[in-house]
Symmetry: C3
């Protein structure tokens, strides 16, 4: 099956999912992001790469944080950014997703950054649009969140240099997490030899081992000697639902404390995609501690999104 | 009575309604739009005509689509655009419409693009503002939606070249449609000899014939040999109300199908202002068919709005 | 106690409150604003002072008006502006205020313009951020609204030239007004010899006299021979609450009419921070009358906010 995000020359036309990307493409994105890191430190934080391009932030799910990082990245590339929160508008008027996309395309969009509650929405759009248009998946249902995974890889490489000698643990609600799914793919592609997931059975997908991960239900066992701890956000709705007894109970077993972190390697780094629930999945002592690189992830996220957008815009329809 | 949208030199100072515009002014807008069409195809989709001008999108009714087209048009003219959704803010604080306008004027607005649920709102604002400020009506109640009608005329001219030999049918909820009202005025001004409206009695204004149109209740009769079919959007609230039996019933009698369209001229074009209710007023086979120019309307809409804004900004207080 | 808004060199690092500012700093802001007034009258209303800087409008309370003035001011300084209405987003996801700020800081924010329902929110943020970041308080709870007070001082100076010979009356809901609190501080700092507050007992803070003001419960007495009348907005929720009998009753005793205004000096000016409740705290004859400078306040507000932002951006971490 042809990879829907590559053009005939094997260049990245869309960024829809990490699954199926080559290590070369992933590394190229990370290297390009590296070159954008210093733009943020200039007096004038701008490069003219996408001047006059129209980028639509097409958000069917609210997300100020992700939308803002894409908006900043696009503005630093000098693009014109149009923010559309679609839930409140055409969607409520009964227009279909593809009609909305066709209309925006007719307004000469160059790129869509799409967040949608349904898995596959970004793929659907990418299959539909004209060949000169680019689609970035900014999170679709439980499926994928590739730019998050890429910024996580950038962060790991920044602090650990190499991937081939790492032990990485992902902790929390893997079942509902598009972030975890994309991270596991990215870590595999980059050659991380040992990926662990740590969670209660109710928060793990069936047959998760088939993704090449080792499953731990005991957090202390799972953190033993890891180099990287990636905490997942626990959605509030899970806590109110039947899947978990209570936030306190969750914190006791799966919340990251200094005490549990001490089981990892002494130089292990702690990551979190944000927003954090302090006292639920992570203790403040850890979140604000010396091993936390959570805010670096945010900074790197801008550079990585600049890289993705400029690489896509530079690929040619084929 | 003096036309409130012209200055003393007969130049367009505001665009409030199509009613009362000369054919010359309408043609000038269409010609200017023609010159902007190619801006969208450049590498850098920008011209500096309105650089440093402050344009306020003042939307008292939500409309992502229309607001977005004006925002894109203004940005392509290099203006600074401020979006204000007023329902949620000062309006709820009890400030009057004109106080809101006065305040924004005091912030040195150059142009207001106004959408409001009440007919006449844009006129009220235009009468009130200082002479150097321009007002564009982006839809007021059931009254007028002039830029939509202009982009429709642009579309018709693009595909049919001339107006004086055309038969045009407008189909659907004419009663509640500011779009239909503005279209009928524009078609008359440009010399279309035969304008038909096709609708059930409950969706037609009283004495609609006085606007110079021919009324058909039978869609098959009304479509016979027409050059242009303009479908209107059926508002969801009409379907839930007492005016119509059901969406299915409406589609049966007034939905445009390939079968009914076959009664029009073979080269007839199909238009729709969007967003479409597929399966209610229009069948997908028609919406996506070879005679549909619905997406061209959207593209032309940007150029037409750029034309309107640049013409207004170029007129001088008198 | 060190003033938290000054750096070690005594320069303004943040603008959090008028309280504690020197007359020199206040005058410097007003003088700088003077130089920006003419930018608004240029063909291209822009100066490149903050080009490439990222300014975040961080609004935890909705306020289209104030947010818009800051947005316009920032755009005239050529900054990149990101609007964040936080109530609907991360706040609802349980993230703390300081986590939100840390995340935006990690996106390389240069300045935060903060409005928050809780007194002290802007101080909290200013204490927390890195030294190269600037915070402007755009209103915190009942505490302070310094840019409003500064634009009011600019307005008074514009029309009255001097402060040392003025009698100023502030009328209305002083108790709940951050505007009044900031105005009283500013008037004192600039040497206004007589500041009066006029209000019913229920709308005055306990021991308000300790702020150096003279209290009047009778509006006619309080307005006698004043040079400046500053009306406060009466929040709707006060009228619905137990504090006031009714809007009509309030207007009778504390609404500004031409009749009552006649007791002030003949050249007295009338100010209001907006949005106005016509017929509640102010009669339309006064609001639209020759002594009203209410719309000038709005215009000056842009220049004052440009001054504050450019002065802060020009101060250096110390």
């Amino acid at each position: 099956m042809k990879n829907p995000q590559l053009n005939k020359n094997g260049e990245l036309q869309h960024l829809l999912t990490i699954d199926g990307l080559s290590a070369n493409i992933v590394r190229h994105i990370l290297d390009t992001a590296e070159s954008f890191l210093n733009v943020a430190e200039r007096e004038v934080k701008k490069v003219p790469l996408l001047r006059g391009k129209a980028i639509f932030n097409l958000f069917f799910e609210p997300s100020t944080r992700t939308r803002t990082t894409f908006e900043i990245a696009a503005k630093r590339l000098s693009a014109d950014v149009i923010n559309l929160n679609v839930s409140a508008s055409s969607a409520s008027k009964g227009e279909t997703l593809l009609d909305t996309v066709d209309n925006l395309t007719a307004m000469q969009a160059d790129m869509f950054v799409v967040r949608h509650g349904q898995s596959g929405a970004a793929h659907l759009i990418a299959r539909h649009v004209a060949p000169h248009i680019h689609v970035v998946n900014a999170g679709d249902g439980r499926h994928a969140h590739p730019t998050q995974a890429l910024l996580d890889m950038f962060t790991i490489r920044h602090f650990k240099q190499e991937f081939h000698n790492l032990r990485v643990a992902i902790v929390g609600d893997v079942l509902h997490s598009r972030v975890a799914r994309s991270q596991i793919h990215a870590l595999s592609i980059l050659g991380v030899p040992e990926i662990r997931v740590i969670a209660p059975k109710t928060l793990l997908p069936a047959e998760v081992e088939r993704m090449g991960v080792h499953v731990y239900h005991d957090m202390r066992q799972g953190l033993k000697d890891v180099d990287v701890v990636i905490m997942l956000r626990l959605q509030n709705e899970r806590m109110r639902g039947a899947l978990l007894p209570s936030a306190q109970e969750y914190f006791k077993y799966y919340g990251l404390t200094l005490d549990k972190l001490a089981l990892a390697k002494p130089d292990a780094i702690v990551m979190h995609p944000g927003p954090m629930n302090r006292g639920v999945e992570i203790d403040s002592d850890v979140a604000d501690g010396v091993q936390s690189v959570i805010l670096s992830q945010v900074t790197f996220g801008i550079a990585v999104r600049m890289a993705v957008m400029s690489i896509l815009a530079g690929s040619h329809a084929a």
